[in-house]
Structures are given as structure tokens and as C-alpha cells.
């Protein structure tokens, strides 16, 4: 099978696969103002997701208190994003990669140092004590 054919076939699988909400963990697994990582089933196969939890009382101006981004750091090619320091820079909540310290916006995954780099993001929310992501 050629690469193009492979890609076409995957596209078909992808389009057949509708996004589904999945329970990935519980609130007790999260670490306030920091990140953890989890596996998520996505259209493109299993993905490592970094989940950040910013309890709302301290995060004025943010729309959400939960964020889900790629755990994969494209600058070091290692799965480490959940282990970065969370903070805010010029008004946006960000995580700093623990390896080479680039900042990624939590809301949309945009890298602040390189406009061509953007992490994937997923919808995430609490359902009671459970944490759900749409993948």
C-alpha cells in the first residue's frame, strides 16, 4: 500500500469515528495548579494527554478550570508537557515545557515562542467527581 493510499484509508476510518466523551480519571487524581497525564482514545489512535487543573477561585479571567493538551513536546520529542510549570504570561494561562522551557497556551495549545507550533487540545470537563474528555 502506498503512503497516500494508507492516508486515505485512515481518513475514512477517521471520518467514521465520531468524537466521544470518555471518562479518563477522577478529580482526586488531579493536582491543583499542576498537571497529570492520561491516555485518551482519539480518532488517530491512542494519545497521551496532559491535563491541567486550575481551581477557579484563583483563576479569574479564565473560561475553564480544566485543560487538556498534547503531552508530547515537539521541541524535545519527549512526552513531558504535563510535568511543566503552569503559570500565566501576558494574560494567558500557559504551561512551560520542562525540557527547553517553551510556553504553550492552555486554551488553544499555541506556542508563544514559535507561531508555527501548536499542541492539540481537547474539550474537558468535570462530571461530578469524574473527569471527562471528548476524543
Amino acid at each position: 500500500m502506498t503512503a497516500t493510499a494508507l492516508k486515505n484509508e485512515m481518513d475514512t476510518i477517521g471520518s467514521q469515528h465520531t468524537m466521544v466523551w470518555q471518562n479518563v480519571c477522577n478529580k482526586a487524581d488531579l493536582v491543583a495548579f499542576s498537571g497529570v497525564s492520561a491516555w485518551l482514545e482519539t480518532a488517530e489512535g491512542p494519545a497521551q494527554v496532559a491535563i491541567f487543573y486550575l481551581p477557579s477561585q484563583h483563576s479569574k479571567g479564565l473560561n475553564s478550570e480544566l485543560f487538556a493538551l498534547d503531552h508530547f513536546d515537539p521541541f524535545s520529542n519527549a512526552n513531558v508537557i504535563a510535568r511543566g510549570i503552569v503559570g500565566d504570561l501576558k494574560g494567558s494561562a500557559v504551561v512551560a515545557s520542562p525540557i527547553y522551557k517553551q510556553h504553550f497556551r492552555l486554551e488553544d495549545g499555541q506556542c508563544l515562542e514559535d507561531e508555527n507550533v501548536k499542541l492539540r487540545t481537547w474539550k474537558i470537563e468535570f462530571k461530578g467527581e469524574e473527569v471527562w474528555i471528548e476524543g
Binding site: V24, C25, D29, L30, V31, A32, F33, S34, V36, S37, A38, W39, A47, Q48, I51, L54, H58, S59, K60, G61, L62, D70, F72, S76, N77, A78, N79, V80, R83, G84, I85, V86, G87, D88, L89, K90, G91, A93, V94, A96, P98, I99, K101, H103
Partner: protein, 841 residues
């Protein structure tokens, strides 16, 4: 641009001044007019001769070079190194070298000087050397390898510098001086006597009033020097440092006017007697004077630029005041230091035989102006005195107050008191007025002023003055010098430290709530969070993995291990002083095997196990802790290692138990969180096998106790530690270290090693000594108490973590799957695992 229209400019000599001229030509667009060729006899491109001695303390030719290797190419100037000019043919307008003939329109002679070797029979024997070039130093180093002792002939400035070098090469060293005292040019007999005492105390033998008659075969050593009274001195190596002579031979041969005692005569525009030929630097004789310092040479280079390009800058002489540290002894000399050029001058003298300090002022007969000054043992007031002298500022009613000990009030001359014309940087000719002008035209900080004026990029002597001048001028203009740590706090690290301590704030949330910038979110960032975490730890020493502190930590501190490039971690247990039992070695081996860890002995004398998976860390540490290990804090900005040599227990030269002391100190300070990491070394004798002088804290055993060195650094910008206190007993030693470290913790900026902190500390080492040794701020009790609190509250962070299931929950690669991260793939190299190229997602 048509090359053939260019005038041919030839610069002879690629030393400090010749190179400075090239820079001036390049920067000022003179290459539009001239095609420049530079001849240098030495094989190295121009280097920093002023810091030549650092070649013996770790710097190499490349780091001493005055420009990047491709500077000449890039600038379009032809540099012909290792090509000596042998003749100037003024009839054909050609410069002749050993390799060819080159036509010229203009010549600049910058041939410098050569060391004078007295005409003593035997002065050309093997092992009789001089001290001027890198090649000279290579020759000295080579000769020292087979020598046990060495003599420097000449006790002037350079002679003492050479003596220091010989001492550094482990030779028993003596200085032989013809005059009745050392540094006869700069100091009087009282100063000279003090200098002699200090230098002898360093183990350098000083022989004055000795004229060498001949040098012949020795019995015990290679040479024997015979003096005027038939006394003799045997030595393996001789370095002549009996003055310098201008290299004016080329000029003599082509008939230029030469001074009576040498030197090419130049006028105010640096013209020689042939207007197409200029001379600058140490070879030039201006107004009967040769200037043996680099700053006047640079001014001549600027004058030459102006002369060559039709400007009207004139050379008008230069101040020969100098401030030096020779063999660790401060010596300063300003203006008419001897007071013999100003009839009627009055002198004030201060001599402290215990601290071994001598200061002298030469004051005009009406007591109003400073004509000269001499300092031995402490240069603390040099900058102030120089400003009085250079700017003709009226002296205080009691001039003596300027040289009395610091405890009596001597107000330093503030930037305010200086006139616009005050010279701040003499290397680059920058006045207070120039600095103000750059600030007026937009420079907003020290870095900006430095770039615009080049101030303090030469010898560096003006650094402190420049900084206070810039700060003062900025403040005077209402520019707030922004020292905020980041956008979340309008405070410096030191400011935050004081707030935390005074208000007893124990969490980041409280701190940012009360003192954070209200315009930002309350999250903080990767700059302020770890800095505050470190401050909180220095003050209260709560476990860094407590819930309130966890979000502040870098990943290394969070997981108490160092993250490697593939997302795995390294494990570094403490091996205090580098001492380890066979049983513990076996445990390390077993653990490494069981968890497939790469093992390496580190540069810090311990063993690092690399490649641990996040979820394995707790098990690895449980096994290590069960075997008696504790965390090594390799991840923290905290005490790393106390490196030791084997010391008196085994070594035939050891005079104290360096291992015992290293272990004791490592255990005392382990866990201390600081602005940056801290390293110690303890050596059992002066051979210094533990390399203590490259550490933040260095300790070297003496017959009577310990010598303490501080603020050394290896790493990217190596710095030798400075001697801080001598012959301390055990208790004195750790008390001083307690205070020193706590003072550093309190006042340093984030991520500032002690070396950088020290270099930025106003008042320098003297100030540090006053605070730590003399308690000038009356804080020593408090500093000691604070350190004791840290020592008393120490707990192994890993032991704390493995006993707490909540904390252990963090050590999972995934919250919804126990399996490890499949993208971490190892391969094997030299029988051990190492990361393979990691795959994506």
C-alpha cells in the same frame, strides 16, 4: 568601490594597541579610504597582554584573544601573523618583511616593547627566560616541569606578577631586586617594607639590594647566581623582569627621530619625524615619556585614527595611576605618589601593622588638592582618591579622614560630586558627561550604556564606578531601574525574600495574594514560582513536595530527580565527601542492574544512575534508603557536593583530615535551598587535589587549621575562589560559612552563583569581609540562627515522600494506566543502556 584607489596603510605590530587601532578604523569607516595590512611577529592574533598571567590559571590563547578568529577576514583587514617586518624603506615607500616587500602610503608603528635583560654574563643560559608573550609563558611552563625552584630578577610590578606565576607552577620562588625595596617606582620604603612582609608570608623569598654579577653552573640546582658581595643563590629557572625597552629598531634603522633613552619621538598627533609614519603604544615617546600601560596606548590609537582621517583629536598625556592586586596584595599608586615632584607638598600617612595596611596622601601646601596617593594592603579607597586627584576636587577639611580605617566615617565620593568632565573609564576615554549624554539619548540601563560607550569593556577597573554612576543618573532622571523578578511581582528576589521573612508568609498563594501585581492573573509563572519555592525553603524548610509547594517546583524538584532528554530521570544519592563503603557500592550496582540504569561516576565525586522511569523512582529510592542512602539534591538549587581529597588519613602530605571535614560540612549544609546550586571542596594540603579553589566554598588545610576561599566557579565562566580567612579552627570555619551562605541566600538574585553575586556586590570582597568577619551590619547572630534552623529541620525529601501515599500518587506516568510510557526506548552502548531516538506520540 575600487580597491586600487585605496591608500595603503600598514600597521606594524598586532599587540593590544595595534589591534585597538584596527577596531577604531573599522568602526569609523576608515576602510573606505585605506586598505589596511597588519603585520604581527607573534603567531597568535592580538591578545590581552594585561591578563597574560591568567594563561597560567586556566585561560588559553583563544580566550585571551581580543577578537574572534574571523574578525580580520570579516572586517576586510589583512592580518599577516608570524611575519616580522625587518626594514622600512622610506626611499621606495616599501615595508620589507622576511617574506616580501609591501608598498605603503602610511605606516603606523605599534611594535610595543621588549623585556630588558641585564647584560650579565650567563644571562643566555638555558632556562633564563622573560615574561611578555604567550610563547614566553609556554617556555616558562615547560622549564618549570623539570624545576623545583625559580628566581625572578626584578621586584617591580611585572616581576611580582611573574613571581606569582612561578609560585602557581609549584616552584619555590624568590625575587631578587636591585633597589632597596620592592616596587620602588610605586611605593616608598614604609610601603615597600609592608609589601615585603606580605609577600614573604606567602612563601616567596625577597632579596633586595642584590645586583647579579654572573650566572654560572649550580651545584644543587641548574644555575648559580653570584651577587655583588659574592653571596650566591641557586636556582633551576630564572625569569628576567628588569624593565621594558621600546622596540624602536625599525625606526632607528630608517632614520626616524629617537629619544635619548629610546622610544620613537611623536607629536600630539602621533606623527613621527616622518609625517607619513605614525607611532603609538609602548614604543612611542611623547613629551619625553613612555607610557607602559594600555589605557594611554588606546588613547594614542584614537589619536592616530583621527590623524589618519583628518580629525583633530590630540594626545595630551595620560595618567599613570594604577591599582593592582599582586600575589593577593593590593597596591595602588596615584599621581605624585612619592611627593617628590611637588615642592611644599604635605604628606599624611596611616600604617596598621596588624592588618598590614599602609596609606599615604600627598596634598598641596594649602591642604586643598590631592596631588598623589599610595596604598598598600587595601585598595578600598582608591576609586575615591582617584576622583579627587583626577578632577581636582577640593579635599575635606581633614584630608586624613580619607585614609583612616573604614569605621571612622569616610564618605565615598558619590557620582553626584563628580564634574561632567570626570573620567570614568580611562581605557575608552568615557567621561561622566559621555555617560549622561547616552542616557539622554535613550540608554535605559547599564548594558545599554556599555554598548554605546564601551565603558568598562577594557581593563574592567571602572566597573563598580560605572554601575553606580549609571544607576545614579537613571534615578536622577526618574527612570525606575526595573528590577522586578517577572510580570507577577514588582519586587526583586531580595525584596521577596525580605517580605517572606518579615511577614512570615509561608505559601506562594499568600505571597502573590498580598504582594503580587494586581493586573495579572494569580498563577505566577516559571520564573517567580521556583524562585519563591526556593525562598520559602530557605526560610522554613518545609518538604518541597507538600501540596502547597508542588505546583511551584521545576519538574526536577517535583520528582526529586533530574529529567533527561527523553523524559526519564537520573538518580543521584548523596555520597558525602565522595566516601563510600563497599556495601553501598554493591547496593548501587544491584539497583542499577535491577532497573536497567546507566551508571556513571560524576564530576562531583558521586555516582549517577540514569534512565529511571518516573513510575520506578519510588521503588528505586525505597531500596536505596533501606541501604542507608539519602537524597543527593542533584535536582535542587541547593548544596550539591563537598568534594574532598583523601587527606591526612592516607596521603603522605596531608596536614588535616579533609575527608572528615568534607563529610561533616556536607551533612551540615545538605538540604539548604539557595538562589543557585552550591559546591564545596576540601583539600588536605596546599597541593589542592580537591580543586577547592574552583568551588563556591573552598577549604584548604594548613598546619594550623583551615584556609577558607569563597566565590569560586567552574562551569561556563570559571573563576578562582578568593582567600577569605586563614588558619581557622573547626568551629570558626563553619560559623563563617554559616554566615556567608545565609548572607548569599538573602541577597543574591535568582539563579546567581556565588561568583556572579560576588562580582556584582558593591564594595566587593572587602565589603563581604566587613559583613561576615567584622559584623558591620550587626546581623551575624541572626544569620547563624537562621542557618541552625535549616540544619535542625533537615529531612531527606525522598524518605518523606515514600512514606506518604498521597505524594507517591504523583509518580505515575499515566493516571489511567499503570504501564510505562511506550515511547521511551533504550538501546545499548558499551554494555549499558542509553536512550534511543525517541518516537513520537
Amino acid at each position: 568601490m575600487n580597491i586600487t584607489n585605496h591608500e595603503q596603510l600598514i600597521i606594524i605590530g598586532n599587540g593590544m594597541v595595534g589591534h585597538h587601532l584596527v577596531e577604531q578604523l573599522v568602526e569609523n569607516g576608515a576602510l573606505e579610504r585605506y586598505q589596511v595590512t597588519v603585520f604581527g611577529e607573534e603567531r597568535h592574533r592580538a591578545y590581552d597582554r594585561v591578563h597574560l598571567s591568567e594563561y597560567f590559571s586556566g585561560r588559553d590563547a583563544d580566550s585571551l584573544a581580543l577578537c574572534e578568529a574571523d574578525y580580520y577576514d570579516v572586517s576586510g583587514v589583512e592580518l599577516r601573523s608570524a611575519e616580522t617586518v625587518t626594514q622600512i624603506d622610506r626611499t621606495t615607500h616599501e615595508v620589507v618583511t622576511d617574506q616580501g616587500r609591501y608598498p605603503y602610503d602610511r605606516i603606523v608603528l605599534a611594535t610595543g616593547s621588549y623585556p630588558f635583560v641585564p647584560p650579565i654574563p650567563g644571562n643566555d643560559r638555558e632556562g633564563c627566560l622573560v615574561y611578555r608573550t604567550l610563547d614566553d609563558l609556554d617556555a616558562i611552563r615547560a622549564a618549570a616541569e623539570t624545576a623545583t625552584n625559580g628566581v625572578v630578577v626584578g621586584g617591580g610590578l611585572l616581576g611580582l606578577e611573574a613571581a606569582n606565576a612561578l609560585r602557581g607552577l609549584n616552584l619555590d620562588t624568590a625575587v631578587v631586586e636591585f633597589a632597596s625595596r620592592l616596587m620602588p617606582m610605586q611605593v616608598d620604603s614604609e610601603g615597600g617594607e609592608l609589601l615585603r612582609e606580605k609577600i614573604e608570608a606567602l612563601g616567596v623569598q625577597v632579596l633586595t639590594e642584590r645586583a647579579t654579577q654572573r650566572i654560572e653552573d649550580g651545584e644543587a640546582s641548574r644555575h648559580r647566581m653570584v651577587f655583588q658581595d659574592d653571596k650566591v643563590l641557586e636556582t633551576d629557572l630564572i625569569v628576567f623582569s628588569a624593565g621594558i625597552r621600546p622596540r624602536d629598531q625599525l625606526a632607528r634603522d630608517c632614520g626616524l627621530e629617537i629619544g635619548e633613552r629610546g622610544g620613537i619621538v611623536v607629536d600630539n598627533q602621533c606623527h613621527t619625524s616622518d609625517p607619513s609614519i605614525l607611532a603609538i603604544g609602548e614604543v612611542a615617546l611623547w613629551n619625553q615619556s613612555i607610557f607602559g600601560l594600555v589605557a594611554p596606548g588606546y588613547q594614542m590609537a584614537k589619536t592616530a585614527l583621527s590623524t589618519l582621517t583628518g580629525g583633530d583629536t590630540h594626545f595630551s598625556g595620560a595618567d599613570m595611576s594604577t591599582k593592582l592586586k599582586l600575589l593577593g596584595v593590593d597596591v595602588g599608586s596615584i599621581g605624585d605618589a612619592h611627593g617628590n615632584q611637588n615642592p611644599g607638598a604635605r604628606m599624611f600617612r596611616y600604617l596598621d601593622p596588624i592588618k598590614q595596611e599602609y596609606r599615604k596622601l600627598v596634598v598641596s601646601s594649602d591642604g586643598k588638592k590631592l596631588l598623589g596617593a599610595m596604598l598598600v594592603g587595601n585598595n578600598g579607597v582608591y576609586d575615591t582618591l582617584l576622583q579627587y586627584y583626577a578632577n581636582g576636587i577640593e579635599l575635606p577639611a581633614e584630608p586624613a579622614s580619607l585614609i583612616l580605617p573604614q569605621s571612622s566615617v569616610t564618605p565615598a565620593l558619590g557620582p553626584d560630586a563628580l564634574p561632567e568632565t570626570a573620567m570614568i573609564c580611562s581605557c575608552h576615554n568615557v567621561t561622566k558627561g559621555d555617560i549622561c549624554a547616552t542616557i539622554e539619548s535613550g540608554a535605559v540601563d547599564l548594558a545599554g550604556v556599555k554598548i554605546a560607550t564601551k565603558a568598562s569593556t577594557g581593563c574592567g577597573g571602572c566597573t563598580a564606578l560605572l554601575k553606580s554612576m549609571v544607576d545614579h543618573e537613571l534615578e536622577a532622571r526618574g527612570v525606575e531601574v526595573d528590577k522586578s523578578i517577572c510580570e507577577h511581582f514588582a519586587h526583586t528576589r531580595q525584596g521577596l525574600y525580605d517580605i517572606v521573612r518579615v511577614e512570615g508568609i509561608k505559601t506562594f498563594t499568600d505571597l502573590i495574594g498580598k504582594h503580587g501585581n494586581p493586573d495579572t492573573h494569580r498563577l505566577g509563572c516559571d520564573i517567580c514560582k521556583p524562585a519563591v519555592a526556593s525562598i520559602l525553603a530557605s526560610c522554613f524548610n518545609e518538604p518541597i513536595t507538600d501540596a502547597a509547594h508542588i505546583p511551584l517546583q521545576d519538574t526536577n524538584d517535583t520528582f526529586m530527580a533530574n529529567m533527561q532528554k527523553n523524559g526519564t530521570y537520573s538518580v543521584v544519592p548523596r555520597i558525602a565527601g565522595g566516601e563510600i563503603t563497599p556495601d553501598k557500592l554493591i547496593v548501587l550496582g544491584e539497583v542499577a542492574k535491577k532497573y536497567s540504569l546507566y551508571s556513571k561516576v560524576t564530576g562531583g565525586q558521586r555516582i549517577d544512575l540514569f534512565g529511571a522511569r518516573l513510575e520506578d523512582l519510588p521503588d528505586i529510592w525505597s531500596e536505596l534508603i533501606a541501604a542507608g542512602f539519602e537524597t543527593g539534591h542533584a535536582y535542587g538549587k541547593s548544596l550539591r557536593t563537598v568534594k574532598s581529597c583523601v587527606g591526612s588519613t592516607w596521603c603522605r602530605y596531608g596536614v588535616q583530615d579533609s575527608v572528615g571535614m568534607a563529610i561533616w560540612l556536607e551533612n551540615r549544609y545538605k538540604g539548604l535551598r539557595a538562589p543557585h546550586k552550591i559546591k564545596f571542596g576540601v583539600s588536605g594540603c596546599t597541593r589542592e587535589c580537591a580543586e577547592a579553589q574552583s568551588k563556591d566554598i573552598g577549604i584548604i588545610a594548613t598546619e594550623n587549621g583551615w584556609n577558607l576561599y569563597v566565590c569560586g566557579n567552574g562551569g561556563m565562566r570559571p573563576r578562582h575562589a578568593e582567600l577569605f580567612a586563614t588558619d581557622l579552627n573547626d568551629e570558626q570555619l563553619y560559623r563563617i560559612i554559616d554566615r556567608f551562605l545565609m548572607f548569599y541566600v538573602r541577597t543574591a538574585d535568582r539563579l546567581q552563583r556565588t561568583s556572579v553575586w560576588r562580582e556584582n556586590l558593591e564594595g566587593g570582597l572587602d565589603y563581604l569581609k566587613e559583613v561576615i568577619l567584622e559584623d558591620s551590619l550587626d546581623i551575624n547572630d541572626e544569620l547563624e540562627r537562621q542557618m541552625q534552623t535549616v540544619v535542625d529541620t533537615y529531612q531527606c525529601e525522598w524518605a518523606d515522600a515514600i512514606s506518604d501515599p498521597e505524594k507517591l500518587k504523583r509518580f505515575r506516568s499515566f493516571v489511567n494506566d499503570d504501564r510505562p510510557d511506550p515511547s521511551i526506548i533504550m538501546t545499548s552502548e558499551r554494555g549499558q543502556p542509553r536512550p534511543a531516538q525517541s518516537t513520537s506520540h
